[in-house]
Symmetry: D2
Subunit: 297 residues, 4 copies
Amino acid sequence: MAQIGFVGLGTMGKPMARRLLQAGHEVTVWNRSRAAVEELAAAGAKPAAALAEAFARPVVLSILADDASVHEQVLDSGVLAAAECQVHVNMATVSSDLAATAARVHAEHGIGYVAAPVLGRAGVAAAGKLNILAAGPPDALATARPVLAELAARVWDFGDRPAQANVVKIAVNFLLGAAIEATAEATSLVESHGIEARSFIELISNSLFPGPVYSGYGALMAEHRYAPAGFTVPLGLKDTRLALSAAHEHQLALPTASLVQDALLQALAAGWSERDWATLAEVARARAGRPAATQSD
Amino acid sequence: MAQIGFVGLGTMGKPMARRLLQAGHEVTVWNRSRAAVEELAAAGAKPAAALAEAFARPVVLSILADDASVHEQVLDSGVLAAAECQVHVNMATVSSDLAATAARVHAEHGIGYVAAPVLGRAGVAAAGKLNILAAGPPDALATARPVLAELAARVWDFGDRPAQANVVKIAVNFLLGAAIEATAEATSLVESHGIEARSFIELISNSLFPGPVYSGYGALMAEHRYAPAGFTVPLGLKDTRLALSAAHEHQLALPTASLVQDALLQALAAGWSERDWATLAEVARARAGRPAATQSD
Amino acid sequence: MAQIGFVGLGTMGKPMARRLLQAGHEVTVWNRSRAAVEELAAAGAKPAAALAEAFARPVVLSILADDASVHEQVLDSGVLAAAECQVHVNMATVSSDLAATAARVHAEHGIGYVAAPVLGRAGVAAAGKLNILAAGPPDALATARPVLAELAARVWDFGDRPAQANVVKIAVNFLLGAAIEATAEATSLVESHGIEARSFIELISNSLFPGPVYSGYGALMAEHRYAPAGFTVPLGLKDTRLALSAAHEHQLALPTASLVQDALLQALAAGWSERDWATLAEVARARAGRPAATQSD
Amino acid sequence: MAQIGFVGLGTMGKPMARRLLQAGHEVTVWNRSRAAVEELAAAGAKPAAALAEAFARPVVLSILADDASVHEQVLDSGVLAAAECQVHVNMATVSSDLAATAARVHAEHGIGYVAAPVLGRAGVAAAGKLNILAAGPPDALATARPVLAELAARVWDFGDRPAQANVVKIAVNFLLGAAIEATAEATSLVESHGIEARSFIELISNSLFPGPVYSGYGALMAEHRYAPAGFTVPLGLKDTRLALSAAHEHQLALPTASLVQDALLQALAAGWSERDWATLAEVARARAGRPAATQSD
């Protein structure tokens, strides 16, 4: 049984913390809004009165919203100066830049820093079947690994520099955006020839493109079903920009990411910020001069 | 047992004709070069001395190289004037434009015209497990369906206008090109951060992007293995152009296809016309200023 | 005084033929619709009863609509077999491909073929101040030059192969499309920050970007004045495609031309086929989520 | 005679300060490296021992390198708290974001803030013939105008919000990048058909595209002359990014800027960071599979 600090009880953090509790670990939880802390306490977690209590456990997992949250709550909050943990595992999708900064700052405080962003949504997290993409100093990673294993179908090792795991996650999300945009364009192409999106999506899902991406997003497109969003346009735009910026660090152009970014901006300009990023299908339809579809129920 | 004319014994045509023979049909085969005709005759087919003999059977299947071949051998050769077949099923990947012309010309001669391009390579054809995308007049399609069923895991119906099946095939190949380009860019991104292509491809194949496309083309990219080509750069370019032109018919821009076209042109300009179109990975690496990889063995 | 056959009395052909008459030449004119022939006859031209009469003069200038017209009226009409001219100067904006074919066909009939597309609109033609971009065999070009000089501020020599002059013309029109698209985007950028298009256009015309392009098209954009069109969207699209296809002959990608093509397709999809291609400004405004402007009067 | 503080004696600042001295003004100069201060003092300027001395004059002009310099030396240095000036005119090319921040911070200290970036290089500045793009509160602008007039062929007024002048400057530089990229592509197109870049550039400069941009950058491309750089690739990239970011503030995609950004990144990846951004011609040539040209002397 490990003693674990857990920081960030959002959509993903909550089922992950619960999973660790079910596996019999002692989990000290902290979250900015208290409701989630109390919810987890009711499930057996130790509520932390302050962030520092979570960082007093040997292994701390955190999954915060974005670069800014990590800066505000962890890197710039002073919590690391007094922290007693050996390893901090940052499971959020953040920039490779932030990962480099965080690795440096943690090292200054003698804390091992591991990046371990995940693939899989809340249900997958609850089942402990995530794909966890990990990178960091070997000893820190060795310490974190048994805890991560409780949450994962597989823990993938992507190197000693934490930023590497973040780049892998960013590259996967870029592939996702690219697949959505291509499916949007292909769908608008077949529709322009009088073919139903639904049967086209069924075909590709049952032949060359099995798996959740083409069938899942394709269904949203065929049914014009963009709300409630699984992943909103602004989140898609954020991740596309992380890809561009990770590429630009090494003077690498990613033309497809530029194109996806432009399409997501058009979605925002059209007022679709609350929608799922599958709404790129409507951007493609607008390009074809067709009126935007209203959501079917 | 059906009497079938079969025209075009190339990479795909040969296993398809064999499959029909194995299913017990009488298959009259014709091909421009005689070697293939004799090979099939040895396997039990009736060799046609002239194309007209194949077009004397009630159902004719053809799978020729491209628009130009269909024009030269079928539409402009005079064979239709004397043809006794009820239905001609064109299984090649041709333009939507050609499909429209062919439908009109066949109708003038009282012959049903069905477009039925396929998904799947030679091995899949041999096993009779193709996905066949069919479209055409309902009665012609009904006549063709039992024959097509011998070759297919599933025969998909995409409408009354033959061009519709071609557009679906073209849209699928566009998705393929888009997935290859995106994988090429994503791979160059992770490599620029010191991560091996191989492990990135393993991750995506085992999580969000299962199926043959990402793992198959990804492996070629990771191993710099572009020859022998499964599908060459010029063939990829041909199909990308079919997508652009099917879109332009309806004044639809396909920005991702424009981008894939540009990348394939760069591959040609680099002298890679014999390579598999997975070599888009090398175009992406060149963009990053890295020397082109030599093929690993 | 030269004896000149003149074929094609459209917007450009008419003032060019008049200019040659004013310079004292004998001009035998032919045009598919007779009204223009009679108009020029009233101005002193010799009306040709058939195309062959024009091709009986030593030097023939033609300026037809596009590749198809040149094929239909000249290359495939049989007129060359009986032609007595020494040189045929094709002044239309046609593809480099057509130029190569035309050069070959004329050579077979012992006729010199010069390509000499022009820069400048009707008013410039009337004043004999065109820029004429010429290419062709040196002796044919030498024969044509004195006649062309009557029409031109300058006759530019771009090589021995006629296609070269066409490629130069195509490249200039590509630059034009690119400048219009960039001005459209820049205008939408400043407008999104509350700056009037008009003052932005005034600035660029009076500083880095003098000359007719930025000020002329910029004024149309600032005033939302797209009709009557100086050059319609379909014409712009045709020329952009000529650029792409001249580039693709040599396996060259032109990313900016792909982008301009996509924007022009969106203009067509929006129903703006009668408008000037300055309407790319409205495509850019639509991208920003702004309602299309109605034309100001 | 005005009393002017002048901050930033770089390539542009030096001739501007000299020009003000020649016009008879009292100019108190400050620069981080002292050599430039002494050089101007020798020409009659008052050397400031500290930045605060410059900000003690009624009107301060500054022209610093970029956003970071403005932050470090002005906004975050404390100098504004003690400043006695009425108006600070920031003539640098900075982001619209910085302009908004600067306007707010200056207002808090009761100082008028005007943005007044310029068009024109050092020689034009020395001659007092710049185009100055100004925006800011009317009273502050009225105070600054007579001083700006000494430096300018024309002072353009782009509104009350300083950011507006910066956006105009950014939009002009975006047009510049777009024109360079288009000229690079057009040049590679004509070259692929065996036409010399030099004669193509001469044609466009003497017909549709007069003015310094096409002829100037075109000459660099024709002669492969990229060093010494008038404006380096990294500077071009910085300005292209300012355009993208000013557009993204209003959810506006600028596809041409995305494309120029990608091409500039390829130039960096090729190792050309010291070159003039006209080297986009070599990126285009590389796209065509041609070896990079060595600089001609």
